[in-house]
């Protein structure tokens, strides 16, 4: 593992919609001439250095998932500059990129390659990934038969096995049972101690507190506050209780 880092400067992500409110790409928007632009993330700036565990907190629709997708390379900024250094491992939904008709083993082989391993490396890692998932015989069954928690275990095990410098987790760890949550927390700690970065979003604050010392509070696609986890969490909860 090499030291990872994330630097965002004035980053924005916009969504274009046509007059029927369907999402369109800029090329299609130009062809259709009429479109409206909505900013999902706006003027966002932060830096995250090696060994930092950062929680993204905020209400639904505040931009948490968009920020995680930016870091994971799923989205590119439409404004500003984002620099992510190091190998990124992402688990952004319980589906985790899994294809239902493939078995756990076949999905692990595919996701391993998509995450940056060579085919040979992915094949060689399958037994270790199987052990890490704790899925046992279910590893050989189609993922269609899996519960949400089983899918999250598989997705996490593959993402973790690629040895990421930056681990990005979006709520999915909340689908995990207590035993595997502890494993996620342990792996996150090990990664942080080795100079890795963990960025996680979710509403289970006690779980986030186990591996995040810092929090970014997002509201309406902007950073409302950035600081120590507990301090930011309290500020957010106070505001949320006033609003409700």
């Amino acid at each position: 593992m090499s030291a990872g880092s994330i630097s965002a400067e004035g980053v924005g992500v916009s969504f274009l919609f046509d007059r029927h409110q369907r999402a369109v790409t800029p090329a299609l928007a130009r062809l259709r001439r009429t479109s409206t632009r909505t900013w999902g993330v706006h003027e966002m700036g932060f830096t995250i250095g090696p060994g930092e565990g950062v929680a993204l907190i905020g209400p639904s629709g505040s931009g948490k998932t968009t920020v995680l997708r930016l870091i994971a390379g799923v989205l590119s900024p439409d404004a500003g500059r984002l620099d992510v250094r190091g190998q990124v491992g992402s688990l952004l939904s319980t589906e985790a990129g899994l294809l239902g008709l493939l078995t756990g083993r076949e999905n692990a082989a595919l996701l391993g390659v998509l995450a940056g391993m060579s085919r040979a490396e992915a094949q060689a890692a399958l037994e270790q990934i199987k052990l890490a998932t704790h899925l046992e015989d279910a590893f050989e069954r189609p993922v269609l038969s899996y519960s949400e928690g089983m899918k999250a275990r598989l997705g996490f095990a593959v993402a973790d096995h690629t040895g990421p410098d930056v681990m990005v987790l979006d709520e999915v760890h909340e689908a995990l049972d207590h035993e595997f949550r502890q494993i996620v927390a342990d792996r996150a700690h090990a990664s942080l101690e080795a100079g890795g970065i963990v960025v996680a979003a979710g509403h289970d604050h006690p779980l986030l507190a186990t591996f995040c010392d810092r929090a970014l509070w997002l509201a309406d696609g902007r950073i409302a506050a950035d600081g120590p986890f507990e301090e930011i969490r309290q500020a957010y909860l106070n505001e949320a209780s006033i609003d409700s």
Partner: protein, 260 residues
């Protein structure tokens, strides 16, 4: 940044993995997948060819084989378009979860269909056997005709994938248009049986050259005309030159489209 050599090896690994996963979904696992692979083209067009060969009394030279020389390459063309139009949506969960080179998705779909197309070649052999058409040296042109077919299919996969993203609702219209391409080419009737302006106009359709190339190689025992192969192959390359950069630029937006 990865060196070009590393990036190429990584792209090949991703391409192979995506294609293998596609094939596993389609054909399953174990010994039966070979049976399914062979049986699929028979299920798609085999019954029709048997009908033409054994039941209907059609004029012309080896009508079943002549028809197979058109239907089989056309099948690769159409299935590639169908696959490409859903190439990104079918992998929605991956597109929303991971950053990877999505430009490989249409190519992977075309590769999957090419593997499926491989089994269709057995139908051509069967038709030759049924009509007692012995292979000649011109059969050596068959790989060239297949290469031109694949090149055109890969080329058309990129605009088809973009259409699948931009306007998924017009999928049926696109497939209707594609089917028309078969009927405005010498598919049901060989080009030699068509005369006048229609003969010349049919040459505009890239399918014409492909169909006739297969017939030249397998039925007539001739070398295909250069234009018959160069036209569809060049069109395939042109489509790649125009649409791969557009696809590469648009791929940054796919996750946004998939989310809503």
């Amino acid at each position: 940044m990865a060196s070009p050599d590393t990036a190429l090896r990584r792209s090949i690994d991703v391409l192979i993995s995506l294609t293998i996963s596609d094939l596993k979904v389609r054909y399953g696992r174990g010994g039966w997948r070979l049976v399914k692979w062979i049986a699929d083209p028979f299920a798609l067009v085999g019954v029709y060819l048997v009908l033409v060969t054994l039941v209907l009394d059609r004029p012309g030279e080896a009508p079943g084989l002549s028809l197979a020389c058109a239907v089989i390459p056309f099948q690769l063309f159409t299935t590639t378009i169908v696959n490409a139009m859903s190439a990104v949506a079918a992998r929605r969960s991956i597109v929303l979860n991971m950053g990877f080179n999505r430009t490989l998705l249409p190519l992977s779909g075309a590769l999957t269909e090419t593997v499926a197309f491989g089994a269709s070649l057995l139908l051509l052999a069967l038709m030759m056997a049924v009509y007692g058409v012995a292979p000649t040296l011109s059969i050596l042109w068959l790989p060239v005709a297949i290469a031109a077919t694949i090149l055109l299919a890969v080329g058309v996969a990129y605009p088809a994938a973009l259409l699948g993203i931009w306007m998924p609702e017009i999928g049926n219209f696109v497939m209707s248009f594609v089917r028309v391409l078969f009927f405005i080419a010498p598919g049901l009737v060989a080009l030699s049986q068509i005369s006048g302006d229609a003969h010349d106009l049919l040459m505009i359709n890239p399918m014409t050259g492909l169909f006739e190339s297969y017939r030249d190689a397998l039925l007539y025992g001739d070398a295909p005309g250069a234009v018959e192969l160069l036209y569809p192959a060049t069109l395939g390359v042109l489509l790649l030159v125009v649409f791969v950069p557009i696809f590469r630029s648009e791929q940054r937006q796919f996750a946004k489209i998939m989310e809503f």
